[in-house]
């Protein structure tokens, strides 16, 4: 049976892994290549690297980092952060990325999703959707959660699917960094409204949170960062727990 995936996420700034709360207050969490290797050995099903560096040299350093990661890791990995063009993606794939993730750039120009799907196939295109509650309505936010948009989360996700997105990485800004659990209701609503896989993100604090997001949130995969970086939960323990809870995982 297809297993539910556990995906550690590494936010990269200037070549280091960082993690903050609600997308601010960054703290250092180590070397991304070392962390990537550690996670792949510990049984992570995939890795996501999101580059949040904002310098001019960024593209070159990112492709070098991607190459280093790719030579060492025998599980799939996704790279995101500042991808605006087909050419940006070509460079990352040439250096060994398996998938790429777009976020703000897709909101700014939705056609980008179609161009990427046509050039590289839907399987390669993850659309990261950051959402926040505004008067009881989940709307899309961009620029790492700083900028609100008028887009309704459920509608934007469907549009992404129609444009050729292969997967949705859904992050609730209300939950991100809080360790109080995933946003179950909206994850369930979105996962059941599109027939492409949904990766739930934001809020993981305990093993029960993962169990909930799979059983009640109908997520296909769950992503987390700090609880793995700071060894609060070991991937193997998490998977053993989920298996006991009758969730199919790769052990």
């Amino acid at each position: 049976m297809l297993a539910k995936r556990i995906i550690p996420c590494l936010d990269i700034k200037d070549g280091r892994t960082v993690k903050g709360t609600n997308f601010v207050e960054l703290r250092d969490a180590g070397d991304p290549v070392e962390l990537g290797i550690r996670y792949s050995k510990e049984g992570a099903d995939e890795l996501v690297f999101l580059d949040i560096t904002a310098t001019v040299d960024k593209r070159k350093t990112l492709s070098e980092l991607v190459r280093k990661i790719a030579t060492h890791i025998n599980i799939p990995f996704t790279v995101g952060g500042g991808i605006n063009t087909v050419e940006d993606v070509s460079v990352l794939l040439e250096n060994g990325a398996d998938k790429i993730s777009v976020n703000t750039s897709a909101v700014r120009r939705p056609e980008l999703v179609r161009e990427l799907a046509q050039n590289f196939g839907s399987q390669c295109v993850v659309v990261a959707v950051d959402i926040k509650l505004f008067d009881g309505v989940w709307k899309v936010v961009t620029h790492g959660g700083r900028n609100p948009t008028p887009l309704i989360a459920t509608e934007w996700v469907k549009q992404c699917r129609d444009l050729g997105a292969g997967e949705i990485l859904l992050t609730s800004m209300e939950n991100d960094g809080t360790k109080a659990g995933f946003a179950i209701d909206i994850t369930a609503e979105i996962s059941q409204s599109v027939n492409i896989p949904v990766i739930a993100s934001g809020g993981a604090g305990t093993m029960q949170h993962f169990e909930e997001v799979f059983t009640k949130g109908f997520a296909d995969a769950a992503l987390a960062a700090s609880i793995f970086h700071f060894k609060e939960i070991a991937i193997k323990d998490l998977k053993e727990y989920l298996q006991k809870e009758n969730i199919t995982v790769r052990l």
Partner: protein, 222 residues
């Protein structure tokens, strides 16, 4: 596309690996990855590097047909890929191969008879058709780790039946006499095929952790 820059070592492949005598890997010849417009070639190259093997990426007919092993990878869309292969006569080159050939993902599907993906006639090595997953409750593509239930074949030496491998696909090969492993995603389908010197796997061994690495090693040792 990416392939232009993926020319790796053009020297004869370094065939040493672990305790194996070097001549045992790749049948003593070069390991060639077919260069075409549907590659995720870099991942395959890195995976081979991790097991100590250098491969050559090429669309040169002589180089392909004189290789010890041929790897035919692929992600993308079937009709565009077939069109590209035909334009360059690579369809005939692949069919003429007498050394072990490994089709991966789309590469495997192109070795089949026909694909529902844009109604594409494929190479017809495996006498089996490729169909779309048709289910209202399944997510398509299938993305992630699923079990492979293997027959007792050299390709699976040291790989337990039921091992997890990584899949990304919307189309699947049906089951027939060439099936050497199956996976269930709503229905049972062929996740690995073999006929004579031709092998195909639907999953990505280059991204399937230890099980995938073992399958690649096995292919190189056939």
């Amino acid at each position: 596309m990416a392939e232009e820059k993926t020319q790796h070592s053009t020297s004869p492949a370094s065939l040493s690996f672990g305790e194996e005598p070097s001549a045992g890997f790749g049948g003593g010849g070069e390991i060639v990855i077919i260069k075409y417009n549907a590659g995720n070639i870099q991942s395959v190259l890195f995976a081979l590097e991790r097991i100590g093997v250098n491969a050559i990426v090429t669309d040169n007919k002589e180089q392909i047909l004189s290789a010890g092993r041929i790897i035919f990878p692929g992600v993308g869309e079937a009709s565009t890929a077939m069109e590209y292969l035909k334009q360059r006569n690579l369809d005939k080159v692949i069919s003429a191969a007498r050394q072990p050939v490994l089709g991966i993902c789309l590469g495997m599907q192109l070795l089949c008879k026909h694909s529902e993906e844009n109604n594409t006639d494929c190479l017809g090595i495996f006498d089996v058709n490729v169909k779309c997953f048709a289910s209202s409750h399944l997510k398509i593509p299938q993305i992630g780790w699923n079990n492979i239930y293997t027959k007792d074949k050299p390709l699976f030496n040291g790989v337990k039946s039921g091992s997890y491998c990584y899949f990304v696909h919307s189309y699947h090969a049906e089951i027939n006499d060439n099936t050497i492993a199956t996976t269930n995603y709503g229905i049972e389908f062929s996740c690995a095929l073999n006929k004579d010197n031709f092998y195909g796997v639907q999953f990505h061994p280059e991204k399937s952790a230890d099980a995938g690495e073992q399958i690649l090693k096995n292919f190189l040792s056939l």
